[in-house]
């Protein structure tokens, strides 16, 4: 008898384990469908990491920013090609003669996705919150805004402290989106970060952290007949390989952040399409111009001459991307199309310049790379090989990201590798950072050029587009000559999707626009 008692106990034990796990599970498995079972209504997009904070004002990184336009919109938006600002919730606007007052005429009958109407109060609240939230990284964009008023529910008046060439572009940024005041005040920052509400084509239905976000069609969306797809499920698949295999296996419809080396294979597979969408992302070398040898402009030019950018594009980007000549992205509205490739790869020239600088035998330079950043490591490895040809020894070491960044900000490095992406359509953001010393020591190169700085400040307030363009041309040329940064290459957004997916729009600033996303 004893044996059977034991067997029963053992059985009970294992059974209770099973039961408890099923009990927990029933709470979690209540929503959503897979891509296959709901083919015509749901599109599944896989990316490598989850969002953190979807509050448009407090968005942290690209995983947040790219999603914002799915559910939130502002007065104006950047055009799909990222070069202009176009109407969004405001159908038109007037500018006063002194360029200090902008009056926006809002579309009639706008509603938030929760059904409440959009009021003037909501606009005042949202724009002021975007400007005044201290924890926001994006508050800078609206610092020129003096006041926001709303004479009625379809008119928003913005007054400025000074005339600003970039104000419309600033207002097109995600943080200037309108949100319902009553809801936001009730939910608080924490609540908004988890479930922001806006007027966008979609609304957040379920968000399981680290797993997926399920967006449902906003029934109150102002564009009739849009969006085309009922649900968009954005899943998190950290491993690049698994993400691509899921796409090949038909489990998902779109994979983002596709490794460059896979683009060609995917494109030629026949079942799938691999698309390079233009972005403003530029990779470059930051040089600490306060260090010995590196303070010499000739040495910096020599380093650029010794850099075979085409080889970098071929090896690291597998041809997906282009070599960069200007520090501005070619997607930037003020990029100079006629800028010559003044320091094109030329080892002999580089050697001559080093000789002129009194360093015929080269010198040593340390390059600190954030641990775990494989693209930076690949670039570093190649630079080491390339610069060895002119006698420059690159000592690569790896440090924690935080340590790398603190060395950068305290100018305690020789060279580092960095990436820039624009957040607004206008050029001011990047030029401010790179050319106006008081802001960030010229992207922490410690380099100074008064002429360039004067041009940069002038371009900020110059409202004549031709004059602005001329100023930015000058800046790019002079900057190239001084070479405090060595632009390496510009990369696109790599997206792979099934052949039958249409309307996948990502602006060069990164924003997803899924109004027309559909499966044929």
């Amino acid at each position: 008898m004893k044996k059977s008692v034991r067997a029963t106990l053992l059985g009970l034990l294992s059974f209770s384990v099973m039961l408890s796990s099923i009990g927990c599970g029933s709470q979690t498995s209540t929503s959503g469908n897979t891509a296959n079972s709901n083919a015509s209504k749901q599109i599944v997009i896989a990316r490598n990491a989850d969002s953190a904070d979807l509050d448009p004002v407090n968005a942290k990184d690209n995983n947040d920013i790219w999603m914002e336009n799915l559910f939130a919109e502002g007065l104006v938006q950047s055009s799909a090609d990222g070069k202009k600002t176009e109407p969004a919730l405001a159908k038109s606007w007037d500018v006063s003669a002194d360029k200090l007052t902008y009056t926006f005429h809002i579309r009639d009958g706008l509603k938030f996705s929760d059904g409440t109407p959009v009021t003037g109060e909501d606009w005042i609240y949202s724009l002021k919150r975007a400007r005044d939230t201290k924890s926001s990284q994006w508050a800078f964009a609206l610092e020129d805004v003096k006041d926001v008023t709303a004479p009625d529910n379809t008119t928003v008046v913005i007054t400025l402290k000074d005339p600003s060439a970039a104000i419309l572009s600033d207002l097109s940024m995600f943080n200037a989106s309108v949100m319902p005041k009553a809801y936001c005040e009730k939910a608080g920052d924490d609540g908004i970060s988890q479930k922001p509400i806006g007027t966008g084509p979609y609304m957040i239905s379920v968000w399981k952290k680290g797993e997926y976000i399920l967006f449902k069609k906003n029934p109150n969306y102002w564009q009739k007949g849009k969006p085309l797809t009922d649900e968009i499920k954005v899943t998190v698949v950290p491993d690049d390989n698994s993400r691509i295999m899921q796409l090949e296996g038909g489990q998902i419809d779109v994979a983002t952040n596709v490794p460059y080396d896979q683009m060609k294979t995917i494109g030629s597979s026949g079942k799938l399409q691999a698309v390079n969408l233009p972005s403003t992302e530029v990779h470059y070398i930051t040089i600490n111009t306060t260090k010995k040898n590196l303070n010499n402009g000739k040495v910096r030019q020599a380093l650029e001459y010794a850099t075979d950018k085409d080889a970098l594009v071929k090896t690291i980007l597998f041809g997906n991307g282009t070599k960069a000549i200007s520090f501005l992205s070619s997607e930037d509205p003020h990029f100079d199309n006629n800028l010559p490739d003044a320091h094109a790869y030329n080892v002999d020239k580089a050697k001559d310049l080093l000789k002129e600088a009194g360093l015929p035998n080269g010198f040593e330079v340390s390059l600190v790379v954030p641990a775990g950043n494989s693209s930076a490591q690949q670039t570093a490895t190649m630079l080491k090989e390339q610069w060895a040809k002119i006698g420059v020894t690159v000592n690569i070491s790896q440090l924690e990201n935080a340590a790398v960044s603190s060395q950068y900000k305290s100018l305690q490095y020789d060279i580092q590798l960095h990436v820039w992406t624009n957040d607004i359509t206008d050029t001011t953001e990047w030029v401010d950072y790179a050319c106006i010393y008081e802001n960030d020591k010229n992207s922490f190169t410690g380099w100074k050029n008064d002429q360039i700085e004067a041009w940069a400040k002038q371009a900020k307030i110059e409202l004549d587009e031709n004059k602005r363009m001329a100023l930015y041309k000058n800046i790019q040329e002079a900057f190239q000559n001084d070479a405090p940064l060595i632009p390496l290459y510009a990369v696109p957004y790599t997206v792979a999707m099934s052949k039958n997916i249409t309307g996948f729009v990502q602006t060069p600033l990164g924003n997803y626009r899924f109004q027309d996303l559909a499966r044929k």
Partner: protein, 289 residues
């Protein structure tokens, strides 16, 4: 991992078998041959390839295996044969270094805890319980999270955790041996504790720890490879096998050789080590009988 056979050797009086040792275990011999080959690669990689493991050749990017590059090349045009060969050194170093220190520390702890007993034993065994409460990999990952990624920190993490099995194995044998007439006799003869511990106890309790250490070498190599895979271990461009596989896996459909050969190398070394470990435990068992 061999921990289940806690063989206890009473004394060092095993009858020497008459057959010569190289005929006693085919398994051992096979493992031995495997490992000698691997060792030759480790010590003299330069003899087998003229390519440097880090030299990039933009003209032969992603070349399939050819006569010039027998294992093909990677996306930098680096010779994979040379990278796999030089990787042997790093992986074996991980395997050996990650095991020797815990073997010494763990055995000492087990020896002292088992021999002296009382509060020393209680202290060490509670410490053991705590370390045992964490999955090995999780604790290693957590330690690396605190002190940062990289090969040196990986060693530190494995050393801090890896001693537990050795301490457990040695302690359990010491406890048995302590009561034996042999040790009791040594005590009555007035030998010092140090002499008894190191001359009489230690040589008789190390067998299972040594057998375990061989399978541990392989486990540590796999943990090292997994850590590189997760981006927490050896950092590129160091040609560690796990890192090579990890780098190559996104290219698997267009360039299978980048992943395949390091994997093969890992498997062959692993099999060699397993054979050696099995053979050794066979040898020790025949010695015991």
């Amino acid at each position: 991992m061999g921990t289940e056979n806690t063989i206890s050797l009473p004394e060092r009086t095993a009858i020497a078998p008459k057959i010569p040792f190289w005929q006693r275990s085919t398994t051992f011999n096979m493992g031995f041959v495997f490992l000698v080959i691997v060792l030759v690669f480790t010590l003299f990689p330069g003899l087998f390839t003229s390519y440097s493991p880090s030299a990039q050749d933009p003209n032969v990017i992603l070349s399939a295996p050819t006569a010039a590059h027998v294992f093909g090349t990677d996306n930098f045009g680096r010779d994979m044969f040379s990278r796999v060969l030089w990787g042997t050194r790093i992986d074996l170093e991980i395997g050996v270094l990650a095991v020797i220190i815990p073997l010494v520390i763990g055995s000492l702890i087990g020896l002292i805890a088992g021999y002296y007993g009382k509060w020393i034993d209680v202290l060490f065994m509670r410490l053991l319980d705590i370390v045992m409460a964490f999955p090995f990999t999780i604790l290693v990952i957590a330690i690396v999270a605190i002190i940062g990624p990289g090969i040196r920190n990986l060693y530190i993490a494995i050393w801090l955790v890896g001693w537990k099995e050795y301490a457990r194995l040695v302690r359990s044998e010491v406890i048995v041996l302590k009561e034996s007439e042999y040790v009791q006799a040594a005590k009555t003869l007035g030998y010092s504790d140090t002499r008894i511990l190191f001359k009489h106890v230690l040589p008789n309790v190390m067998n299972s720890a040594i057998v375990y250490s061989i399978s541990d070498v392989m486990m540590c190599m796999l943990v090292g490879a997994s850590m590189s895979f997760l981006g927490l271990g050896v950092q590129p461009p160091t040609p560690e096998w796990g890192a090579l596989i990890s780098d190559g896996r996104s290219l698997i459909s267009s360039a299978w050789w980048i992943c395949a050969f390091p994997g093969l190398a890992l498997a062959i070394t692993g099999i060699g080590i397993s054979l050696l470990g099995d053979g050794l435990s066979d040898l020790l068992r025949t010695k015991e009988h």
